[in-house]
């Protein structure tokens, strides 16, 4: 069902844009290639960010956990910005995603260590606070880098920071797609462990789960997805919050259904949001991060209010 919707959304998105291009012309002009690549990136980023959100929510037993809220996206953004400034370096095409991934991993490690209390629990509010603070610090470093950035690059960097799906590197698109696809597959395969983790770490260990290993693996996978997505399309916030919660309402909390459904729904969401971003004030384009934050901020507040009744959905 979701797959049909996704295909429909892709078709729709394929035909909308700043200028209307008839089908025949599309093939001749190469517009189709550009648009298809852009749709692929939306699918990859939507799926990656949504599944990363699901994973963080399960591991931290926190319904408000999400790459952007936790500061993981900012960390990845900072890593990526440094990579852009210093240039490709020795790792070539891998520099950008690797730096973004490193930034993401370091950030989640710092935020998690700050929020974790002596007993091992991660209280909701401490986690959000440390995410906000770490995010603010990273943001300031990022702004510093932007401010010393040569002016000819400035527009690109800022535009990228706002989150957008323009393809600036085909090679990068391939790398990022492969990384996200692999991570989603791993998460689906081990989805049952995420169910058990929602009981808490000690109870999960009592049930026979190797908690430390599971935690490390999933933090790594979620950081990889976040890092890869940020490297390709900058900071797109709140997707990992909006999508998993909406999907949870429909398919329930079992991660064996939740993970694949969130991947699909996230892809649909970003493809549609991008179609909207490209058309609504055409020929201008709204950065997609602006749209997701505009929808996601109120959604976050709504969840925060609801939390008084129940932590989840």
């Amino acid at each position: 069902m979701l797959l049909t919707v996704l295909l429909g959304a892709c078709m729709l998105s394929l035909f909308v844009g700043a200028v209307f291009v008839p089908v025949g012309e599309m093939f001749q002009s190469g517009v189709i290639q550009l648009r298809l690549a852009r749709i692929l990136l939306a699918v990859v980023a939507g799926a990656g960010l949504s599944v990363a959100g699901v994973v963080f929510q399960a591991l931290l037993r926190n319904p408000l956990a999400e790459p952007y809220v936790l500061g993981v996206s900012s960390g990845a953004g900072l890593g990526a910005a440094i990579a852009i400034i210093i240039g490709a370096g020795i790792m070539g095409i891998w520099t950008l995603p690797t730096m973004a991934f490193a930034g993401a991993v370091i950030t989640i490690f710092v935020v998690y260590s700050l929020a974790r209390s002596a007993g091992g629990a991660v209280p909701v509010h401490t986690l959000l606070l440390s995410g906000v603070i770490v995010s603010a610090v990273l943001g300031s470093i990022l702004m510093f880098i932007v401010s010393i950035c040569p002016s000819e690059n400035l527009h690109n960097v800022v535009w990228w920071l706002l989150g957008n799906l323009q393809i600036f590197d085909w090679q990068l698109l391939r790398v990022v797609s492969a990384v996200v696809a692999a991570c989603v597959v791993v998460t689906v395969l081990f989805a049952r462990d995420l169910n058990v983790m929602t009981l808490g770490e000690e109870p999960a260990a009592h049930l026979g789960l190797n908690v430390e290993l599971t935690k490390k693996m999933f933090f790594l996978v979620a950081s990889l997805m976040t890092g890869a997505t940020v490297a390709a399309c900058g900071l797109i916030g709140f997707v990992g919050l909006i999508v998993p919660h909406s999907v949870r309402l429909i398919v329930g909390p079992d991660h064996r259904r939740l993970v694949p459904a969130s991947a699909m729904a996230g892809a649909i969401f970003l493809v549609l949001a991008d179609g909207f971003a490209r058309t609504v004030i055409a020929p201008m384009e709204i950065p997609i991060g602006v749209i997701t934050a505009f929808l996601g901020g109120p959604f976050f507040l709504f969840l925060l209010r609801r939390r008084k009744r129940s932590y989840w959905s």
Partner: protein, 272 residues
């Protein structure tokens, strides 16, 4: 058989347990009692291999715990943690099936047999009529029984319980403990449970281990352990201990304005 030999354990520099030794035979119902912060929960965490001891070891049927993998341990030992909670709307059946985790292959799904075992566990814990209800929508007493069903689905030889009846009203306290003792007697499942209520401990346990500030104060049958002198020494309150007229077990009489000795144990900082 579960054998705890000369265990010393703690958190960082803080020593919580000192030289604790205890044996439980298959089918024993052992109660752990002691004041707040005396190390009861810590002892359970050592027995379940969550907290590695600084000295001594725990043997399960003659094998050191450190040599048993988490997965294999979970096949023979289940533990119901204190204040276990689940805020996600899983169904009762889904929660019970989580008990099968250690029995499944790493990325496998539940087989027909796993489903059967879970159904059986739900029948035993008297929650099968709730199987399709959401864990978030049932009462506290029912939820506790669901978590017991989850433990039973592990098919454990040893069941550890950390204050299984706290937050339950007396009807639910008795039904939960009756259920646990029924399984203990019928399947000769070893039970080790932390109790706060000394009278309930006396009613249900074959043996009672008294911890006082991390040290074993006494270990034996309820009749030998639950005495006026022990309670005065460990808890700092002077209470008469009579016989329960129905069960003939020791019965602690609590009255207002009790003549406590003035040295009530200061509540130690409980690390959990």
């Amino acid at each position: 058989m579960l054998s705890i030999e000369n265990i010393s354990a703690g958190y960082d520099a803080k020593v919580v347990l000192q030289d604790v030794t205890m044996k439980a035979n298959a089918g024993d119902f052992v109660g752990l009692i002691g004041p707040n912060g005396s190390g009861k929960t810590t002892l359970l965490r050592v027995i379940s291999n969550i907290l590695p001891p600084k000295k001594g070891h725990v043997l399960l049927d003659g094998t050191k715990l450190q040599k048993i993998s988490r997965r294999n341990l979970a096949k023979s030992m289940a533990c119901l943690s204190q204040n276990l909670s689940l805020d996600l709307p899983f169904t009762v059946r889904e929660v019970t099936l989580m008990g099968r985790t250690a029995h499944l292959s790493r990325i496998g799904t539940e087989t027909h047999r796993d489903l059967e075992i879970a159904e059986e566990a739900m029948v035993l814990a008297d929650v099968s009529h709730l199987a399709d209800r959401l864990i978030t929508e049932i009462s506290g007493g029912e939820r506790q029984r669901v978590f017991i069903a989850m433990c039973l689905a592990q098919e454990p030889a040893v069941l550890l319980l950390d204050e299984p009846t706290s937050h339950l009203d007396i009807a639910h306290q008795l039904s939960a403990l009756d259920l646990i003792r029924k399984l203990n007697r019928k399947n000769s499942m070893t039970v080790i449970a932390v109790f706060h209520d000394l009278n309930l401990a006396g009613e249900y346990c074959d043996k009672i281990l008294v911890l006082d500030d991390g040290v074993v104060e006494s270990f034996g049958s309820p009749e030998n352990v639950l005495t006026s002198d022990m309670i005065l020494k460990v808890y700092g309150v002077k209470v008469p201990v009579e016989r329960n007229p129905v069960s003939n077990k020791p019965h602690i009489i609590l009255t207002a304005d009790m003549n406590h000795s003035g040295n009530i144990k200061r509540e130690a900082c409980d690390p959990d």
